[in-house]
Amino acid sequence: MTMRGTSWRTAASALYAVLVYGFIFLPVVVLVLFSFQDGRFPIPPFEGFSLRWYEAVLADSRLMEALANSIVVAVGSSLVAVLLGFLAAYGLARFALPAKGVQRALLTAPLTVSYLIIGMGLLITFNFIGFPKSLLAAGIGHVVINLPLCFAIIYSQMGDHQANIEKAARDLGASEWQVITLVTAPMLWPALFAAFFLSMTFSWDEFIISFLLTRFDVTLPVEIWSLLRSGLNPKTNAVGSLVFGISAVLVVVLELVVLRKGRRA
């Protein structure tokens, strides 16, 4: 390979990367830019810098309530999903149970079904038994979609080497409960954390199940959806930018924390 060939390839690679980055960031940049629009429409021309749409968002009590609801549903459903997923993974990885393959298939089956269908099934079922549309109903749906994910992540990290470590703990006198709380869970901490964080993200961002299963108290994506119906509006830009900003900061902080940990290990 000649130097010339190499540099030509590098240039082509760089150009391609820049184009894809551009494609990925284009809508975000437009979204954020026009959230500062000093005018009624989030479209060119840019009429000047203003924070008035952010003020409007923060003053919108419905949006703020929906934000709080979203946090409650995301944290609550993720905790349940991680707990159930962890226990199931522990049971299936460590004990001789019949029909393990069927159990694993059942637990991961919701991964292959569209959220829309899961939400619709729950909607019809809850309708029949008279369970009201509510944040609780949406939370139940979020556990259904996140449980398979939590189970799969945690199960994949339960190696036989760790089984040996649990055996050592039992040998030294730990009860089953002590093994789980003092050895298994701490050892799997990164997997548990990843499962929880991913569940949070999915629940936080989930629209269709919440849309179908909530009525008066709604989550943030549902509230943004009703805002969207009013057409192009810089206020929607402002909400979107806020959500993006918070998530991005969270991801970067997480990345730094995990990276630092990774270096120490």
Binding site: N164, I165, K167, A168, A169, D171, L172, S175, P186
Partner: protein, 360 residues
């Protein structure tokens, strides 16, 4: 404390078609260092699991300090195990690892830390309390696993191939340390290995196992010099085998017909009788090379095929002049003229020949 630490009675265990243990019985005297030696699949690790409580055998019983422990879980037994992969808790400090068993027994943190400190000092890792397992070398992890298992003062310590993951030099060094630590704490150690040199260096008693059975059991010297079975003779060190038949037995003597001629031999502890098929086992260092005189019996002559240098001596693989099935493995001097192709006369002292039943 009773004189017998572990008493295994008629234990049998099968995994589907595979028999891991077939009617195994043995006793481990209190305060001794016992080594289970055998190739993989011989049942030695299964036997250790049965003693440690990780496996309940399908038949037979296990007594520890005289009490029946057959179905008692590991935690409730006065035994602890040092695992092959050490199984240190990766998320805990070394101190917390060593103190874990004491914590499970409800001992206060101050006392725990004091004992952990003591144990780490015992294994030569003083001051490592705050480190984590991944910061230690393989040999150091091995010591931590030992300290952790000893911290709860078990009456029997079980070691499952504890030195298997270490390099040769470190392994030899750790053997000496393990033995010294066992002498110091006085706990009964039961150690599983497939390395016969390790077994000889470390054990008070060696239990040779094969196919789920005990082939031989005794002091290293006894098992090496007077192995009870063909398998034990072959697995513990090297041996040359010569088939024969007992023509007659009178008093303390046997007259054995072999392809190299008739050999009059003392019993040498063998139970062979007139008409039995036997195998004569001779260690490399017991061959008399060159001038066969005095009490030595002549075995005919053989040609050197191959020589390997073993440091302190040479080891020659030979082809017997007249008997194809007899391939003597002979220890030769460290320095000497013998080269492949040389033919030498071979002999052996009657008392050095081990007479084994031919069970092949």
């Amino acid at each position: 404390m009773s004189a017998t630490a572990v008493d295994v009675k008629n234990v049998t265990h099968r995994y589907e078609a595979f028999t891991a243990l077939a009617d195994v019985s043995l006793t481990v005297p209190t305060g001794s260092y016992t080594v289970f030696l055998g190739p993989s699949g011989s049942g030695k690790t299964t036997l250790l699991s049965v003693i440690g409580g990780f496996l309940v055998p399908q038949a037979g019983s296990v007594l520890i300090n005289g009490a029946d422990m057959t179905a008692v879980p590991p935690a409730k037994r006065p035994t602890t195990t040092v695992f092959q992969d050490y199984a240190l808790f990766p998320h805990m400090t070394i101190g917390a690892n060593v103190a874990f068993g004491l914590r499970m027994r409800g001992i206060g943190s101050k006392e725990r830390m004091r004992r952990a400190h003591e144990m780490l000092e015992l294994v030569g890792l003083k001051g490592s309390e705050a480190k984590r397992p991944h910061e230690l070398s393989g040999g150091q992890r091995q010591r931590v696993a030992l300290a952790r298992a000893l911290a709860v003062e078990p009456s029997v310590l079980l070691l499952d191939e504890p030195l298997g993951a270490l390099d040769l030099k470190l392994r030899r060094q750790m053997q000496a340390e393990l033995k010294a630590i066992q002498r110091e704490v006085g706990t009964s150690f039961v150690h599983v290995t497939h390395d016969q040199e390790e077994a000889m260096a470390i054990g008070d008693t060696i239990v040779v196992m094969s196919h789920g059975r005990i082939e031989d059991m005794g002091t290293p010297e006894r098992v090496y010099l007077k192995p009870a079975t063909l398998f034990a003779a072959g697995f513990m060190g090297q041996s040359s085998f010569l088939k024969g038949k007992v023509r007659w037995r009178t008093g303390g003597r046997l007259d054995i017909e072999t392809p190299v001629g008739r050999l009059p031999l003392p019993l040498n502890g063998s139970g062979a009788d007139t008409g039995d098929d036997v195998v004569l086992s001779i260690r490399p260092e017991h061959f008399v090379v060159g001038a066969v005189e005095g009490a030595a019996l002549s075995l005919g002559s053989a040609t050197v095929e191959d020589m390997t240098f073993a440091g302190a001596h040479h080891l020659a693989v030979m082809r017997h002049e007249t008997v194809d099935s007899f391939r003597p493995m002979v220890q030769m001097p460290q320095t000497g003229e013998t080269t492949p192709g040389t033919t030498v006369a071979l002999g052996v002292l009657p008392e050095d020949v081990v007479i084994l039943k031919d069970d092949s």
